[in-house]
C-alpha cells in the first residue's frame, strides 16, 4: 500500500514544476499548459486525501473526489476562455509572447 505522503510529495513536486513553467515561460500557450499541470497537482492531492482519510464532521470521506470533479469542470472552462483570449490577442497584436502584450501595463 502506498501511503498518503507519497502522493502528497508527488503533488508538491508537480505543483512546483507547473509554477516554474508559469514564471519562466513567455509563450501564452505554454503558460496555460503549466497552469494545467498545477491544477492536476491539486487534483492528485485531493483524490489521495479522499482515498486515504476518513471524513470529518459533515464531510463524507470521498468529498475530495467531488471537489476534483468541479476543479476539472472549471479547468475546462478556463482553457476554452484562455484559448479565445489567445486567438484574439494573436489577431490584434500578431504575437503570443506575453512580454509584448503590455497594453494594460502602467
Amino acid at each position: 500500500m502506498v501511503p498518503l505522503e507519497a502522493f502528497q510529495v508527488l503533488s508538491a513536486v508537480l505543483f512546483a514544476i507547473g509554477l516554474y513553467g508559469v514564471m519562466a515561460r513567455r509563450s501564452a500557450v505554454l503558460i496555460v499548459m503549466s497552469i494545467e499541470l498545477m491544477l492536476n497537482a491539486v487534483n492528485i492531492n485531493l483524490i489521495a486525501a479522499a482515498s486515504h482519510l476518513d471524513g470529518m464532521g459533515n464531510w463524507a470521506n470521498f468529498d475530495g473526489q467531488i471537489i476534483a470533479i468541479f476543479i476539472i469542470t472549471v479547468a475546462a472552462a478556463e482553457v476554452g476562455l484562455a484559448m479565445a483570449i489567445i486567438l484574439r490577442m494573436y489577431r490584434n497584436r500578431a504575437t503570443v509572447n506575453v512580454d509584448e502584450i503590455n497594453l494594460m501595463k502602467w
Binding site: M1, V2, L4, E5, A6, F7, Q8, V9, L10, A12, L14, F15, A16, I17, Y20, G21, M23, A24, R26, S27, V29, L30, V32, M33, S34, E36, L37, N40, N43, I44, I47, A48, A50, S51, H52, L53, A60, N61, F62, D63, Q65, I66, A68, F70, I72, T73, V74, A75, A76, E78, V79, G80, L81, M83, A84, L87, R88, Y90, T95, V96
Partner: protein
C-alpha cells in the same frame, strides 16, 4: 505491486511535466502534457478513483489537449521557437523549488491518521453529487455556459462589430 505502479506513473507524470516546461517545441510540449495527464489518470486508478480516471482521460486527454493543439495551429507556429524563456528563469527555478520543498516538508511533517485506500461506488458518488452538492453542480453548469458564450464573443471575427 502498487509501489511499482506508483513509481512508474510518478516518473511519467513528472517527466511529462518537466518536458512541458523545458522543451522549445510547443507541439512537443502539448504531447508531453498529454503523457503527464494520462499518467495522472493511472495514479487515480491506484487510488481506486475509477470515475475520476475516466473523467481525466475524457476531458484532459481528449478535450483540453485538442483545444490546446488547435490554439497552437491557429496561431503562427513559426513564431514559437523564437519565444525564449524569461531571462530570470534561474530565479523562477529557485522560487519554484522553494515552494516544492516547503510543501513537501509540510506534508511529511504533519501526517494525518490514514485508512486503507478506499473508494465510493459510482452510486455513492452520484447520490452525493446530486443531493449534498446539487447547488454547486448547477452553478458549475452555469459557469460552463458563461465560459462558452464568453469564448465565442471574444474569439468572433464579425465584420459588423469591428
Amino acid at each position: 505491486m502498487s509501489w511499482f505502479l506508483f513509481i512508474v506513473l510518478s516518473i511519467l507524470t513528472l517527466g511529462g511535466g518537466l518536458g512541458v516546461v523545458v522543451t522549445r517545441n510547443v507541439v512537443h510540449a502539448a504531447l508531453f502534457l498529454l503523457v503527464s495527464l494520462v499518467a495522472v489518470a493511472g495514479l487515480y486508478l491506484i487510488l481506486f478513483a475509477e470515475f475520476l480516471a475516466l473523467v481525466q482521460v475524457l476531458i484532459y486527454g481528449g478535450a483540453i489537449i485538442i483545444v490546446l493543439l488547435f490554439a497552437i495551429m491557429l496561431t503562427r507556429s513559426a513564431e514559437y521557437p523564437r519565444i525564449s524563456d524569461n531571462r530570470q528563469w534561474p530565479l523562477a527555478a529557485v522560487a519554484a523549488a522553494a515552494v516544492g520543498v516547503v510543501l513537501g516538508a509540510a506534508f511529511l511533517d504533519n501526517s494525518l491518521p490514514q485508512t486503507e485506500p478506499n473508494s465510493p461506488t459510482f452510486g455513492d458518488l452520484a447520490n452525493s453529487l446530486f443531493t449534498t452538492w446539487a447547488i454547486p453542480f448547477e452553478v458549475a453548469s452555469l459557469v460552463l455556459l458563461v465560459a462558452l458564450i464568453g469564448a465565442i464573443i471574444i474569439a468572433r471575427t464579425g465584420e459588423d462589430n469591428r
